[in-house]
């Protein structure tokens, strides 16, 4: 077993990026572990084989094929609504979002903000469509995590069997975030802002975020029962790097 420090130095040696001092440190280690030196030599020779793999010419028709495919998508491809409907939200959930937008607009225009008790106007829910959500909402149940280049805040509010969730995620590395709302029957509305490279899907009591960068999401669902909301955050593709949490209702 090679200690981590010398794994790093051996890797650097293969890249030719060790400083003279690091090379001396590695040589000292090799003096005590000659088999490690031999192993590095063998590794180096194996990697040199990769130089023999030459780049191959792509099929001659590839360029034309690509341009035909690009032209076939022209006109429909770069319409923002298409990306919204088919890319990030998936078709079924986009419909729910559309219903939510209409609902939000009706709430905003038809009901005075102070007519039904405490609202969540400060959330600026459904940006551009309504400034608040009416009702007697619970205080926020918060999951706050700042670790390994990942800043995550999940704020969950509850009113009867309806749950409003705001997720703010900023990740320097690829992560997966899953949220499971027991019993949820319907995604009523959603508002997403995600970076390129982020993928998310929500509905039927489950929301899954995957990617790297910044992600903002509000979503509202009903039929949620009183069990805790399950949450996990996984770093990278390694399932062992998964942390699990619960958001417990008051």
């Amino acid at each position: 077993m090679i200690p981590e420090r010398f794994r790093i130095l051996m890797n650097n040696e293969l890249d030719g990026t060790n400083t003279p001092a690091e090379r001396d440190e590695l040589e000292t280690y090799f003096d005590a572990h000659p088999q490690a030196k031999q192993y590095l030599t063998n590794l180096s020779e194996s990697l040199h084989l990769l130089d023999s793999l030459e780049q191959e010419d792509p099929p001659a028709e590839l360029h034309g094929r690509v341009m035909r495919a690009v032209r076939a998508t022209e006109g429909r491809a770069r319409a923002p609504w298409r990306d919204f409907l088919f890319g990030r939200l998936r078709l079924g959930y986009a419909f729910s979002a559309a219903v939510g937008v209409v609902l939000g607009f009706l709430l905003h225009t038809a009901i005075p903000l102070d007519s039904m008790g405490r609202d969540l106007a400060d959330l600026d829910l459904m940006r551009g469509t309504a400034t608040g959500l009416i009702g007697n909402w619970s205080a926020a149940q918060t999951l706050d995590l700042h670790e390994a280049g990942v800043d995550l805040t999940v704020k969950a509010y509850r009113q009867a069997d309806m749950v409003l969730v705001r997720v703010t995620l900023s990740a320097d590395q690829a992560v997966s975030l899953g949220l499971d709302f027991p019993g949820a029957s319907q995604l009523k509305s959603a508002n997403y802002e995600v970076n390129e490279g982020f993928d998310l899907a929500a509905g039927e009591g489950l929301a899954v975020f995957k990617g790297q960068g910044d992600c903002f999401c509000d979503f509202l669902m009903d039929g949620v029962d009183a069990r805790p909301v399950g949450a996990y955050l996984q770093f990278g593709l390694d399932a062992t790097q998964r942390r699990e949490y619960q958001i417990i209702w008051p």
Binding site: L14, S46, D57, H63, A69, V70, R71, A77, Q173, L237
Partner: protein, 179 residues
């Protein structure tokens, strides 16, 4: 002087679809080769390359010029290759195409044999390791670019690369390659 990537991107954004041919010409060989080493089959690699360029075209309005264009392109390509492997349920291993027959002088034969061993060794690696070997050793990308493409910190890339190098060596030894 040929247009820069950003100039071409701007023209495509402005509606000049023909300008996109410049992007395809510039990167098709690199994207095809990285896909080929990841998915292990020329036809599949061509499919991945095509899907990559179409997605780039579709998403070009969302490209942030603060980032390097080719890093963004590679990232999409690697994701497409991964999706392809997943669809074919080959994420763990891929089957490399049989090589050309090895007639000719001994040296040439040895060269072909070594390439075949190498292809098989790559095919036996998991996707995570294979893609990092391809980006570092075949596409010759620096760590920072690889980190951007894979969405991993540089430190993790280095650590994973060393493991991948070890796995590749082990696979070669298992296939009878003598150092």
């Amino acid at each position: 002087m040929s247009d820069t990537d950003l100039e071409i991107v701007d023209r495509v954004k402005a509606g000049d679809t023909d300008a996109f041919a410049g992007i395809v010409s510039r990167y098709e060989k690199a994207i095809f080769n990285s896909a080929y080493r990841i998915v292990g089959d020329r036809d599949d690699a061509a499919d991945v390359a095509q899907a990559t360029f179409v997605k780039v075209y579709e998403k070009i309005d969302s490209f942030d010029p603060a980032y390097k264009f080719f890093s963004w392109l590679y990232r999409i390509s690697v994701n497409e290759a991964y999706n392809h492997c997943r669809k074919k349920k080959q994420a763990a291993t891929v089957e490399m195409e049989p090589g050309k027959s090895p007639p000719g002088p001994y040296q040439e034969y040895r060269q072909v044999e070594m390439c075949e061993q190498l292809k098989r060794a790559l095919a036996e690696m998991t996707y995570d390791y294979r893609v990092i070997i391809v980006l570092k050793h075949l596409m010759l990308l620096p760590y920072r670019e690889i980190a951007g493409i894979l969405g991993l910190p540089e430190k993790t890339v280095k650590s994973r690369l060393f493991s991948a190098r070890q796995v590749l060596h082990r696979q070669l030894v298992e296939q009878g390659y003598k150092v």
